[in-house]
């Protein structure tokens, strides 16, 4: 779990806090990523894409809810649950694929998300 949590923290820090080398935006494993303004509706699909690619899991639309994804601790629990479920369902040899990119990669445009645009003109 610690490995997974560390990797997730690194992904979140690099991708949403752009490294945060100053440490001004440090967050704990239990902090709400939404309430801290770290991940919003724009970022959540980036996180989902990352999880699918990195951990070879498929995340259904109805699973993209704060209960599963709104803190590092929740994401860790969710990913571990998904991996266990996948391992149960798959042929034993498939367990070896539990880590690493696979053919489950979603199309790139899945990550093309946007919140309402502020640009306005006639």
């Amino acid at each position: 779990m610690e490995f997974l949590a560390r990797e997730l923290r690194r992904f979140i820090t690099d991708n949403f806090l752009f490294g945060d080398s100053s440490g001004r935006f440090a967050f704990s494993d239990d902090d709400s990523l939404q309430e801290r303004g770290i991940v919003d509706s724009t970022g959540i699909l980036e996180l989902v894409c990352h999880l699918q690619e990195k951990y070879a899991i498929r995340i259904e639309d109805e699973e993209i809810v704060p209960e599963n994804l709104d803190s590092v601790a929740r994401v860790v629990r969710f990913v571990e649950h998904k991996q266990r479920a996948a391992a149960r369902d798959l042929h034993p040899t498939a367990q070896a694929r539990a880590v690493g990119t696979t053919d489950l990669q979603p199309p790139a445009q899945v990550c093309a998300v946007g919140t309402p645009d502020l640009a306005r003109a006639s």
């Binding site: 490294g19 919003d40 699909l45 790139a108 998300v113 946007g114 919140t115 645009d117 003109a121």
Partner: protein
């Protein structure tokens, strides 16, 4: 040497020749009109101290793009006024700086007074005698007649400096909604003013240090809160404000602010919708008619949306011939509206010119765009407008009508409807329709439709206290943009400790604001901030005037604005239908498909435009860790991460895209204004000051 007390009308004069007729006069008679596409500058000194003549010359030389043909100066002890003019036709009226016959009052003026014909007649009846046909002279006489109150009578877009030589008072004024820019700086006992900040920087003693609070404002509101600018020592004269300077004492006050009726006021406009439609059309027609007063052809921008189509249709109706129309097309389908633009042009029968804009075009133009905008921008949207103005100018047009202002005055913006939905959510938090309502609001934003409902709702979440917040409508946008401040360096972040830009804005709201309808409150926030600070400047005056093109805005006519302000909110946004009354009225003017078309804001390709191909070089240099570290505004490691993310080629979210454009444009501001600001004083002395002779 520069003559003291002399006007040096190096500039040519302004167009005016009714009898010979311009292309637009076919079938119609037009009043003579002086089109004052100009830049202004000046210096006053409390102690009547000598003013180095190089200073006004250097200042006005930086504004050549606003008036490339001629420069004029007025110098007397302790006073220098300067003017850059675009000669349209060389007629002997309208030279600037201009004085009254007795030389008691002097003016340097940028803009248009559209109702100058009527004002002139009224002044003439009172005994005023005019030497020219220009609107500039009318304003000068009006000021002599009424003093600072003169501006209340103006229907126009102006930035003006008037020197009362007897009282030794300088009067500065800016139009109601901030179409024309005006900045000032105080250096010792001197006040300097100019159309653009770069003119102030031409005086070496004016500091070019950035103001962290100005940056904080831009990375929250997309614009600074006036009078603050992004430069510590430069002040903007806010829209609808006037200023007087007397012996070093400065007084600034609003001559106009957006006002709305109290929500409980029984006298709100509730007349028959049909009658209101008629009145709106009449007011718009008159506003357009006034803005067609020109001695040069007037073109029209067509965006593919309703507002610009209405303006072009009214121009066609008033003139009896369709205006030439201009539009921007993009290769990227997400941004392109050319099919709708062509439909408008076909329907109106205009000769239409289309600028096709590529990513590379945007990236190549962007440094010049920022130079003219004089502020960081979070969108590339100004760049295509910069290129469009160049095309307009190349086609021989110097004046265009545009549709800006309709969304603010008549209730067109998505943010108005979004606020309605969020209020609905707060009352019915368990409604299952919440996400679908938001998706209905933004049919053009395809990416949004893929977002998970739970997170979409979270973005538009109404938190405790939000409902009673005076800026309820705008908080989600400001909060989103504020997240870009994570790129600020520790030093900048530390200097902002304790500063709250949103609170500063709230503290500046009019006393009556709390009694207005929520829609009117949101309209006010748009009209007082984003409209002047971004739409009319970074996307408006600055891009058009970079090529000596003047934009005119019928929807911002004071009579139209007043009509929109008092209109019942349900006739602006009815249910979730935006610009309800305008759409009803527009059916008589433009195709039904344009009226019914879902609103799509004007946008342009963003971050990915910069990091591909040859144009990437300057962006890579300015965003390098070494340069970012030297400049000190942003955290180098954070910018490196961002650049890497953009370079990866993956689709970017709105926030990342804004971050990239915002960081890059800030780095360009630093590069062009702070690190390498160049004034060609030798060139000025050898060319521009050829006019600085005794006459």
């Amino acid at each position: 040497m520069v003559g003291r007390g002399n006007v040096i009308p190096h500039c040519g004069a302004i167009a005016r020749d009714v009898e010979r007729g311009s292309p637009l006069r076919r079938g119609k008679s037009f009043a003579p009109f002086s089109s004052a596409v100009c830049g202004i500058a000046g210096i006053v000194a409390a102690d009547r101290a000598e003013i180095d003549p190089l200073w006004p010359a250097a200042m006005i030389a930086t504004l050549d793009h606003r008036g490339p043909d001629d420069r004029g100066f007025h110098l007397e002890p302790g006073v220098a006024l300067a003017h850059a003019r675009l000669s349209i036709i060389d007629v002997a009226g309208g030279r600037q700086p201009m004085s009254t016959v007795d030389r008691a009052f002097w003016i340097t003026f940028n803009g248009e007074i559209f109702n100058y014909v009527e004002l002139r007649e009224a002044l003439a009846r009172k005994g005023h005698r005019f030497r020219t046909q220009s609107d500039t002279e009318v304003l000068l006489h009006l000021y002599r007649e009424r003093g600072a109150d003169a501006v209340a009578a103006l229907n126009g877009q102006w930035a003006a400096g008037i020197w009362d030589a007897r009282a030794r008072v300088l009067f500065l004024s800016r139009d109601r909604l901030g179409v024309r820019p005006l900045y000032y700086a105080v250096v010792g006992s001197r006040l300097l003013f100019a159309s653009e900040m770069k003119a102030l920087f031409a005086v070496p003693t004016v500091s070019r240090d950035l103001d962290p609070k100005g940056l904080d404002n831009v990375f929250t509101f997309w614009t600074t809160l006036p009078p603050r600018t992004i430069f510590k020592n430069i002040r903007e004269l806010p829209p609808g404000h006037s200023l007087t300077w007397r012996d070093g004492e400065i007084s600034v006050w609003p001559h106009w602010t957006p006002r709305f009726p109290d929500a409980s006021h029984a006298a709100r406009t509730h007349r028959e919708t049909a009658a209101l439609e008629e009145e709106l059309l009449q007011r718009l027609e008159q506003a357009t008619r006034l803005r067609l007063r020109a001695d040069v052809p007037v073109g029209a921008y067509v965006s593919g949306g309703l507002d610009s189509a209405v303006v072009a249709a009214l121009a066609s109706h008033v003139n009896g011939v369709p205006p030439r129309t201009f539009s921007i097309a993009f290769d990227a389908a997400d941004f392109d509206e050319s099919a709708h633009q062509r439909q408008v042009a076909r329907t109106l029968g205009t000769e239409h010119h289309e600028l096709r804009c590529s990513n590379e075009d945007i990236a190549r133009a962007f440094p010049d765009v920022v130079w003219h905008a004089e502020t960081p921008v979070l969108r590339t949207a100004p760049a295509p407008l910069y290129l469009l103005a160049r095309m307009v100018r190349d086609q021989g047009f110097k004046v265009v009508l545009t549709g800006e202002g309709a969304d603010e005055t008549l209730g067109g913006y998505d943010i108005f409807r979004e606020a309605k939905i969020r209020r609905f959510w707060s009352r019915f938090p368990s409604s299952s329709r919440r996400a679908s309502l938001i998706r209905r609001l933004y049919p053009w934003l395809r990416d949004l439709h893929r977002q998970p409902a739970a997170y979409l709702q979270a973005f538009f979440h109404v938190g405790p206290g939000d409902l009673v917040h005076p800026a309820f409508s705008h908080l989600p946008r400001w909060n989103l943009t504020s997240r870009l401040k994570l790129f600020f360096s520790d030093q900048v972040a530390a200097s902002l400790t304790g500063y709250d830009g949103v609170q500063e804005l709230v503290d500046s709201l009019p006393r009556s604001y709390g009694g207005w309808d929520p829609l009117c409150q949101a309209q006010y926030l748009e009209m007082a901030h984003l409209l002047p600070g971004y739409i009319l400047s970074s996307q408006g005056d600055r891009m058009a005037m970079a090529h000596g093109v003047e934009s005119r805005y019928p929807f911002l006519d004071p009579d139209v604005v007043a009509f929109g302000s008092t209109l019942d909110p349900t006739l602006k946004v009815k249910g979730l239908a935006e610009k309800y009354l305008l759409k009803r009225a527009a059916r008589r003017l433009v195709p039904e498909s344009i009226v019914k078309r879902a609103k799509q804001p004007y946008r342009a390709p963003g971050a990915h435009a910069f990091l591909t191909g040859r144009t990437a070089e300057y962006a890579a240099d300015l965003l390098s860790a070494a340069q970012v570290r030297r400049d000190g505004v942003f955290e180098p490691a954070a910018v490196e991460h961002l650049v890497r993310k953009v370079r990866s080629g993956r689709a970017l979210g709105v926030k990342d895209d804004m971050a990239f454009v915002g960081v890059l444009s800030t780095q360009i501001v630093i590069d062009r204004f702070v690190n390498h600001f160049i004034t060609d004083t030798h060139g000025i002395l050898s060319s521009g000051t050829s006019s600085l002779h005794h006459r």
